[in-house]
Symmetry: C2
């Protein structure tokens, strides 16, 4: 599924350089459920961006299903991303002027799915996250937790083989958070989807078989629970 080799990421701002990742190497196999934990500013979101090909590393390589992504051209990379990767951003990045249904349907337009089929699937996903009757509401008309659930539904739109979620329960109460994680666990077990979750909630990390501990841009520990 996803392999990183000696990945370094340094954000440059004028003369200042911020090393977010200082050299990380690991692989996540198909069907694994992995969580990434670590202090605020340790590089978790940056690591997820690298895995999701949303940003280029300063050094090192990223492989998605054995393909080295820096060798792909613009549209090939966009197609790989649309087909294989579902991303839940830490702050959602929903389109303000679109209602919930259109936000969820948007990734399906990149794969040329018909409007009728897109809307049916979007309604199905809205039902899965408990927001069917809010389909016509825009992000500003939804609570924080409701927006987060729309963002999760959008990440599942194209049935991606890899789901990368950045604090997916950060704005949810305990009960709603549990329901969302159970949804991800079910997708992992039934559809063998690979799931990587950044979280700071110990109860969520526990649901994953593998926990990667990140600190100051380096992997401190990579523990796999006995099955």
């Amino acid at each position: 599924a996803v392999t990183l080799k000696d990945v370094v990421k340094i954000y440059k701002m004028g003369k200042v350089e911020v090393p977010a990742l200082k050299g990380v190497s690991f692989s996540v196999e198909k069907g694994e459920m992995v969580s990434i934990i670590g202090p605020s500013g340790s590089g978790k979101s940056t690591l997820l961006y690298m895995m999701g090909t949303l940003d280029k590393p300063t050094k090192g390589e990223v492989y998605i299903d054995e393909v080295e992504v820096s060798k792909l051209k613009g549209n090939e990379l966009a197609e790989l991303r649309a087909k294989k990767i579902g991303f839940v951003f830490q702050f959602f990045n929903l389109i303000p002027r679109m209602n919930a249904l259109k936000n969820i349907a948007l990734p399906m337009t990149f794969l040329g799915i018909s409007k009728k089929e897109r809307e049916e699937r979007a309604l199905e996903l809205l039902e899965m996250v408990g927001l069917k009757d809010r389909w016509n509401h825009r992000p500003s008309e939804l609570s924080g937790g409701e927006q987060q659930r729309v963002a999760i539904a959008r990440a599942l739109a194209n049935n991606p083989s890899i789901i990368l979620a950045d604090e997916p329960t950060g704005n949810l109460d305990t009960k709603t958070g549990k329901e969302i994680i159970e949804l991800l666990v079910a997708l992992n077990k039934e559809k063998n989807q690979t799931i990587v979750i950044v979280t700071h909630e110990p109860g969520i990390a526990e649901k994953c078989r593998r926990i990667i501990h990140l600190k100051d841009g380096l992997i401190q520990k990579d523990e796999v629970k006995p099955s």
Copy 2:
């Protein structure tokens, strides 16, 4: 400090009406530390908006230090808000084009504080939340948790007597989250500042002497711990 009487809030979107608050009445006295908990969509953020005079109720009254806010004119209300209320939004609402220092200094400009004094205070606040060397970074150059800490520092800028925080530790790891709550507890104990925290993390709610349970826009329970 803050009193709500039969407050109702209904969001109208075309023909659809969403009742977020269905009639809540309670008072928070000066120096109290109170938490508000409840499921996603139960009306917590809306309740905080009413208490912070950021939005008008559909029915009912809001009093800040015995003054009924609907009787105040535009600039009187703005001045009361700038002087007495510090607000930490659920999604920060930092100004993207301003660096951390300027974001924190902004509320002080409303009270006519000199640039030199504003910048000194902003640097002090950045140090309090552990981000002194990131003063010149913009929100997009900070991690989620770092942005949240800048938002908390901004809410404290004018030494407000009332601090309203919406999920202030939602994007922080356990250790950083504890540090922020300890900062708020210290402000409550040492400066007698009134603090109201919306949270879904039980460990945070426990730190408050009083917990208000909200569900479907109504107060289910209002429990005060024996001191």
